[in-house]
């Protein structure tokens, strides 16, 4: 997937698994406010357990853009299908890699 800067040069450290998990949990609590962070875990399904639909997924991606200081482009995003929170954490690790910034 292509990403680009939304506001000029920004230093974005590559995220390790723990950091990516923390970021995903924070973003999920913004998009799904009735889900406190302590109730989240990697095995939960995004749709079936958390009720995240396509609009929620959009809001989540925009939240990641804001937190990571990047702008995500359409190219490649449409092929992504995520089942659970762990898949989402994998996605964030990929987004934060220098090669795809």
């Amino acid at each position: 997937m292509a990403t680009g800067d939304s506001s000029g040069p920004v230093v974005r450290p590559e995220l390790n698994r723990s950091q990516a998990t923390s970021l995903v949990f924070q973003a999920l609590t913004v998009v799904i406010p009735d889900r406190p962070v302590e109730t989240l875990d990697e095995r939960q399904e995004l749709y079936a357990d958390l009720g995240l639909d396509s609009l929620g997924f959009v809001r989540l991606l925009l939240e990641f853009e804001s937190k990571l200081g990047v702008q995500l482009f359409d190219d490649g995003l449409m092929t992504i299908k995520l089942l659970n929170v762990g898949d989402l954490i994998d996605l964030i690790e990929r987004i934060s890699l220098p090669a795809v910034r």
């Binding site: 079936a48 639909d53 396509s54 359409d74 299908k81 995520l82």
Partner: protein, 463 residues
């Protein structure tokens, strides 16, 4: 390739009302508040729309959003659209008003829907989607999308509501001419369609079912995605070229309307003409009246509830707060198929809830009479949907007192009625009766809608 020269009146940006009124950002319900979601275990989450398009529906930062150059070049082939004063209609009515109309029916596909179809096809193609699947009621959206997909080298599949496809099969032929695959909805292709046909083999179909079938089919192919032609904020955004042009065209005439009138399906042609006028009125510090005209067969604003509801029969789309008659309501078949959607879009609903727009319901007998009068006096046969707007406009100007300053009104003629000649012929032959809502179906559907909202702790707000 040499592009069509762009007229100076062609807007280069879309007008984004969410910048001025961020409170209109769609209010969606998290499915985690619902019981029974766990039954959908194994259901993946993915983008239904390109992010760039979805981003537009949530953008509160930018008052104007640039129109991509490729889309502008295509707009330049048919825009700006005409704005005319309906002088002969004024004379015939003998009213104390100056009536202006914007005419969106002069493009190949015959309606305003092309404004968003071209934009959406551009973004879907850019995102790597291979085919767009959609539902259409009257067929104007399906026709526009079929053409736009052909222009952008995308495949297109359309589920068209059975009652309207049978009323005007030539709509289906137009879509096929542009390369689209067209199915009558309900169909036996999808579980949603089979369920509806199982309950009633003669079901006339609804937009909600057609959309549900489109969603189901799109989900079977990774290269396909679903798209809608009305209701969503981004769709209304694309339609704002209409109102922006009207502001400029009226300014050249030294005019500004007191009242803007358009028909209401889910809100795209209404928003397209009204939102830029609302913005211009705000800037000028002057009042403006916005009037949405709906069908008595589907009175979602005047008789609906402002509650969380589904927009499709499959039940996978976001659950948004809208004025609705409930997604199970089956309106009687009327010729204005574009006004049969059970709910207004979230943005138009939020505007109605805070009093920024008024609404009136008009029956198809009255609207056909108004449409024929408009044809006789102005030389344009409006689509049955647009004829509702004409009827609403005639009602407004007819009530304006003679002793006051002339009322200046602007009405949107969202499409032509040249594919609805059979309906006009039936009206002229005295075969069309006023059609009101199906009270039994509406009562059942509203009860289910209210029960659903009670179950999630959302109190009902009536009109």
């Amino acid at each position: 390739m040499v592009a069509t020269p762009r007229d100076p009146l062609l807007p280069t940006h879309w007008f984004n009302i969410l910048h001025d009124r961020p409170q209109y950002v769609t209010s969606a319900l998290s499915r985690s508040q619902l019981g029974g979601v766990a039954k959908s275990a194994g259901h993946s989450v993915f983008l239904q729309q390109p992010l760039s398009l979805a981003r537009q529906s949530l953008n509160t930062a930018d008052r104007f959003i640039p129109i991509p150059g490729e889309v502008l070049d295509l707009y330049a082939q048919y825009r700006p659209t005409p704005l005319r004063r309906a002088v002969r209609l004024e004379e015939r009515l003998g009213v104390n008003a100056r009536i202006y109309y914007k005419y969106e029916g002069a493009n190949l596909t015959g309606s305003h829907k092309l404004n968003t179809a071209l934009a959406q096809a551009y973004y879907y193609a850019g995102a790597g989607v291979k085919r767009i699947v959609t539902g259409t009621a009257a067929g104007q959206w399906g026709t526009a999308l079929a053409y736009a997909c052909q222009v952008m080298n995308l495949g297109c599949t359309v589920f068209m509501v059975r009652s309207t496809l049978r009323q005007k099969p030539v709509r289906g032929e137009m879509m096929r001419l542009f390369g689209a695959v067209v199915y009558e909805s309900p169909s036996d292709l999808t579980e949603v369609g089979r369920r509806v046909l199982g309950e009633d083999p003669a079901a006339t179909g609804t937009q909600a079912v057609a959309n549900g079938e489109a969603l189901a089919l799109a989900a079977e192919d990774s290269g396909s995605r679903f798209a809608v032609g009305s209701g969503e904020n981004s769709v209304l955004l694309h339609q704002t070229v209409i109102g922006q042009e009207a502001v400029s065209q009226l300014a050249q005439l030294g005019e500004f309307p007191d009242c803007v009138i358009a028909c209401m399906g889910a809100g795209s042609n209404f928003g397209g003409i009204a939102l830029p006028l609302l913005g211009a009125a705000q800037d000028a510090g002057r009042p403006i009246r916005l009037l949405a005209v709906e069908s008595t067969a589907c009175p979602k604003l005047t008789r609906g509830r402002y509650l969380y509801d589904l927009s499709d029969a499959l039940g996978t789309t976001p659950i948004t707060k809208v004025y609705s008659l409930g997604s199970t309501y089956v309106p009687p078949p009327v010729y204005a198929g574009g006004l049969r959607h059970h709910s207004a879009g979230p943005l138009a609903s939020a505007m109605y809830a805070d009093g920024s727009l008024e609404a009136v319901a008009i029956d198809q007998h009255t609207s056909f009479r108004a449409g024929l009068l408009f044809c006789e006096t102005e030389g344009i046969l409006p689509a049955p949907e647009s004829a509702h707007a004409v009827a609403g406009m005639i009602d407004v100007v007819s009530r304006h007192p003679r002793q006051e300053a002339p009322l200046v009104v602007l009405v949107n003629i969202s499409g032509h009625g040249l594919l609805d000649l059979g309906a006009y012929r039936s009206f002229a032959a005295g075969e069309i009766e006023p059609v009101t809502a199906d009270e039994a179906s509406m009562s059942r559907s509203l009860s289910a809608l209210e029960e659903f909202n009670r179950s999630i702790g959302e109190p009902a707000k009536t009109t």
